[in-house]
Amino acid sequence: MMIGLAHYLVVSGALLALGLYTVASRRNAVAILMGVELILNAGILNLVAFSRFVTGSLDGQVFALFGIVLAAAEAVVALAIVLQLYRAWRSVDAAETREMKE
């Protein structure tokens, strides 16, 4: 069977659903961030797949590069916040840490 657009979209949908499950079910802030990374990967995979099979141009890949850069920046800032949260609360449980003010 020929590998088409639907195959990639199914893989991307599975990644998105599992990432959303991770975000919804975890209490550790770092694990929630891992779920966000899964969701972003699913979106970027969609961009590249549509760029290959629907438009046939490179625009989707340019957007994929921008998406990867945005994901990296988001991870850096989020992890800095998580470290600061741990320093203030000795915990990264998203249900227990309610404020960041000292």
Binding site: V10, A17, L33, V76, L83
Partner: protein
């Protein structure tokens, strides 16, 4: 893309690697296992990029995600202690509604992906994309490119500012800080100004 037999097998292997890694991220008891399973997902998705004739994006995925984001995540996992205790490190809450969410969303997305009549372009043979991407980034996409560089600088400064230890410990008066008043809610807009009664004030 030709319907060659080894290519199909490699595609299914990469897709299985990515999805299995994501499954392990979602269901592992220990958060260190989740972090390493994320490595499998990132590598599988990078392989899928190669399959989609996006070689530059695949290399950037390996460099940025595996080399940067994953190492940062591992640092965060190791720095936030008590990782050996699985129940503390990767506890999950409300597994049942999340499973329902996972199944419903996954089924809907797969159904939409398979049933939709996507408009198709003829798939060109796979050619190197580095030159085209470079032309696009410095041609029509030069403004987003520059904005992204400013964003990276802002993220760098913000991360350093946030993660830095405070220069000197604040002494006393920690409990005396005043809590600012919550912002007042704006008036709800009335849809029909002619017949709208004056809005009732909430008790």
């Amino acid at each position: 893309m030709t319907a060659s037999f080894p290519g199909t097998v490699v595609f299914y292997a990469l897709a299985a690697l990515a999805v299995a890694g994501a499954l392990w991220v979602a269901f592992a008891r220990n958060i260190v296992h989740s972090a390493f399973a994320l490595l499998a997902t990132f590598l599988g998705v990078a392989g899928l990029y190669v399959f989609l004739a996006a070689d530059v994006v695949a290399v950037v995925q390996v460099l940025v995600y595996v080399g940067g984001v994953l190492v940062l995540l591992l640092f965060a996992v190791m720095l936030t202690a008590r990782i050996a205790d699985a129940n503390v490190s990767n506890r999950s809450l409300g597994r049942f509604p999340a499973v329902i969410l996972l199944l419903v969303l996954g089924a809907l997305l797969a159904l939409a992906a398979i049933r939709s009549p996507w408009s198709r372009a003829p798939t060109a043979p796979a050619t190197p994309t580095a030159a085209g991407l470079g032309d696009a980034l410095l041609g029509p996409y030069v403004l987003p490119f520059e904005i992204v560089s400013v964003l990276l600088l802002a993220a760098l400064i913000g991360a350093v500012t946030l993660a830095r230890k405070p220069a000197r410990a604040r002494t006393g008066s920690a409990g005396a800080t005043t809590v600012p008043a919550p912002p007042t809610r704006p008036e709800p807009p009335t849809s029909d100004p002619q017949t709208a009664a004056p809005p009732e004030t909430a008790p």
